[in-house]
């Protein structure tokens, strides 16, 4: 066994070195794949050596950002953290992260591991690494050709937790599908959430997913919701309702380049400002802060560390090109895309937009989810947009979608080639440029954009002051 482990680590590290020196990818999945092939028990052996604990982050959206924020908070406290920062979140990516941190003899000298884990990979990784805590962000409809229907994904996580229920759950109180997991928890979960704020829709219309009680299938009532099914729900039949969050952000304010809110924790009120936009990032931040309490780090300290947070690639990633703001954002499912569109819609001034849709395995081969995205908002407010360049392997499908959303045909352009599409977007006259791309389109767009535009690295110093 030990020999096998050493061979696996050597082979994995060699592949890592090779892929880096050849410049082929970032070496975030392949080393783990090789090592796991040689030693299937590798994850368990390496994970055992983590001194304080392992925190797994899963759910549909926000995994990368939440786990990066949490790893940042732990590192800022002087803790050594193993983490799969680049979003390689299958078992192979998790194994690569451990390999990278391990010595050639397979020794790990780290206090914490923060692991982002894909929902489909969760059962295996969970059983191998035996995490101390699990953060579940949300459950949205995502890549039906890969995961199957949403119920199946939720059941998969639930079953793993049932098999081994010792983990401390950190759950999004606002998502009934996530909060419903409490039924299989042995310990009282730690809940986080967002309180009602001025951008919140007051009524329950528009909640499409998960409108039914996870326990008794009755239609849920909503006092308010933020987006998708996230909000204050209650079941008129069995009494299931949004739990009171231990950590809650209120007075949310979403700017294009920042988001802020007041975090309430044990009667303390703390001002949180993130140097990246989007209400969803406020969710990610409170999730990370809630998880950090499990490691004994106070939200007050965590909030301080998050002021300098750097967005991961393609998560409201900011660039400047000839004085204009260029925002690059990953889109991968209707819930996330709708968040992206809400940000576009709120941006002041004229906008140039590029939407790049690929249908490779990692993107989901079925692009019919584009019809579950509410592009109608672009059609209704199309006066604020100069053009929409549709690109990627399914750029034509995107163009059709925009046409039926009411975007005038003369504003819809198809440019299959990603680099030429970026050039055309950057060559526009709008005050702001938005680039939205699916997973496999994001990387080539980012690579090309890096050469053409300057990335904005935020400390926190150029943030608007907290009023």
């Amino acid at each position: 066994m030990l020999v096998r482990l050493f061979i696996a680590i050597m082979a994995g590290k060699f592949v890592m070195w090779l892929s880096r020196s050849l410049g082929q990818g970032s070496g975030s999945s392949l080393p783990g794949m090789v090592a796991l092939r040689i030693c299937p028990g590798l994850l368990e052996i390496l994970a055992r050596q983590i001194k304080e604990g392992i925190i797994v982050v899963t759910g549909t959206n926000g995994k990368t950002t939440t786990s990066n924020m949490l790893a940042d908070i732990l590192s800022s406290e002087g803790q050594r953290v193993v983490t799969n920062r680049k979003g390689a979140n299958l078992a192979t990516g998790v194994a690569s992260a451990f390999l990278q941190s391990a010595t050639v003899l397979g020794r790990l000298d780290y206090e914490w591991a923060v692991l982002e884990v894909d929902e489909a990979a969760f059962p295996f990784v969970y059983s191998q690494v035996k995490p101390q805590a699990v953060v579940v962000t949300n459950f949205f409809r995502d890549q039906l050709d890969r995961y199957g229907e949403l119920d199946a994904t939720v059941d998969l996580i639930k079953k793993s937790l049932l098999d081994r229920g010792h983990a401390q759950l950190i759950l999004n109180a606002d998502d009934p599908l996530v909060a419903g997991l409490a039924a299989v928890a042995e310990k009282q979960p730690v809940y986080y959430g967002l309180g009602e704020h001025r951008e919140t829709c007051a009524r329950g219309v528009g909640v499409k997913e998960a409108r039914f009680c996870p326990h008794c299938s009755q239609e849920l009532n909503y006092a308010y919701y933020h987006y998708s099914q996230l909000g204050a729900y209650s079941c008129p039949r069995c009494g299931f309702a949004r739990p009171v969050p231990a950590l809650e952000a209120i007075n949310a304010e979403d700017g294009l380049e920042f988001v802020r809110g007041t975090v309430i924790y044990e009667q303390e009120q703390l001002e949180l400002t993130l140097p990246t936009g989007g209400l969803h990032n406020l969710y990610n931040a409170v999730a990370a802060l809630a998880a950090a309490t499990v490691a004994g780090i106070s939200p007050r300290a965590g909030i301080g560390y998050l002021r300098g947070y750097h967005a991961a690639t393609g998560r409201m990633d900011r660039f400047r090109h000839r004085g204009r703001l260029v925002l690059l954002n990953l889109v991968k499912n209707p819930a996330g895309f709708n968040r992206g569109l809400a940000i576009l819609d709120k941006a002041p001034g004229s906008r140039d937009v590029l939407i790049a849709i690929n249908d490779n395995d990692a993107d989901g081969r079925d692009v019919s989810w584009l019809w579950d995205v509410d592009f109608e908002i672009l059609g209704q407010n199309n006066a604020g947009y100069n053009f929409f360049i549709c690109s990627g392997r399914r750029g034509e499908d995107m163009a059709v979608r925009l046409k039926y959303a009411g975007v005038p045909a003369d504003k819809i352009k198809v440019e299959r080639n990603l680099e030429q599409a970026v050039d055309r977007a950057l060559g526009g006259r709008g005050e702001r440029v938005f680039l939205l791309a699916t997973y496999t389109a994001l990387w080539p767009v980012e690579l090309y954009l890096r050469d053409k535009a300057e990335r904005v690295m935020t400390g926190g110093q150029d943030l608007p002051s907290v009023s």
Partner: protein, 242 residues
């Protein structure tokens, strides 16, 4: 006024199938034809004789069971409307529901509405991927594309198929047939959604619905360059693969 009844949009809303209704609505609006969508939910009072086009999409198993019972109570009314020439489009789960039965993997037999003569059996795996189909509309052969994702295998009795599979699996991956057609009822496994990228089929449904009125003079033409390009790009890709 073109009256579209969208059956259970709150329950049957997987795979962007609502795009089919959007396509019908937009293609009416672009021609200045008045159009109205009525969303039918469980328990609503409904008379199908007042509808021009009925649309039903697919949903998860749990949701499909909920509505099968509800639809069963309206069965006679729907059957009469169909015999009278009502235009209907049913996709995936909605398609399966119109047949005689669905034989689940555990051997349980779920009775269908029995409106069309076909049955469905659960398969060992899901049939997933892009599909190209040749459909005959008014004697003209039209190539359509879409995406299928189903574990049920459907076998037709005394009904016509919607078309012939050029690439992909279709009804069962065996007989080369896709979908079903009986009078003006069209069934298909194709998501995508089906109608926006296949405007000839969308317009065919509209002309069948409008043609039931006396003195109707036909649909005006639209610029379908974007739609046809998207369809051709996909057809080219999947046909070359074979």
């Amino acid at each position: 006024m073109v009256k579209i009844y969208h059956l259970y949009p709150d329950l049957l809303d997987l795979y962007g199938d609502r795009g089919n209704v959007m396509a019908l609505v937009k293609r009416c609006e672009w021609r200045n034809l008045p159009v109205q969508v009525k969303e039918i939910r469980i328990g609503d009072i409904v008379d199908f004789s007042g509808a021009d086009i009925v649309f039903m999409g697919g949903g998860s198993d749990r949701e499909q069971n909920l509505l099968a019972e509800d639809l069963g109570q309206r069965l006679e009314n729907l059957r009469q409307a169909i015999e009278g020439g009502l235009v209907m489009l049913a996709i995936c789960g909605g398609y399966q529901l119109l047949g005689s039965y669905y034989l689940a993997a555990d051997g349980a037999k779920v009775t269908g509405l029995g409106l069309l003569d076909f049955y469905t059996e659960a398969g060992p795996d899901r049939l997933i991927g892009n599909v190209g189909v040749e459909i005959e509309l008014n004697g003209k052969k039209v190539l359509c594309s879409g995406f299928e994702n189903h574990s049920g295998r459907t076998f037709l009795g005394r009904v016509q198929p919607l078309g012939r599979v050029l690439a992909g699996h279709g009804n069962n991956g065996q007989d080369g047939l896709e979908g079903a057609r009986y009078r003006n009822v069209f069934c298909s496994y194709l998501h995508g959604p089906l109608l926006p990228k296949n405007p000839a089929l969308a317009d065919y449904l509209l002309s069948l619905a409008l043609g039931r009125e006396e003195g109707w003079k036909g649909l005006g033409s639209l610029d379908d360059t974007l739609e046809n390009t998207a369809n051709e790009v996909m057809l080219k890709r999947i046909m070359n693969k074979r």
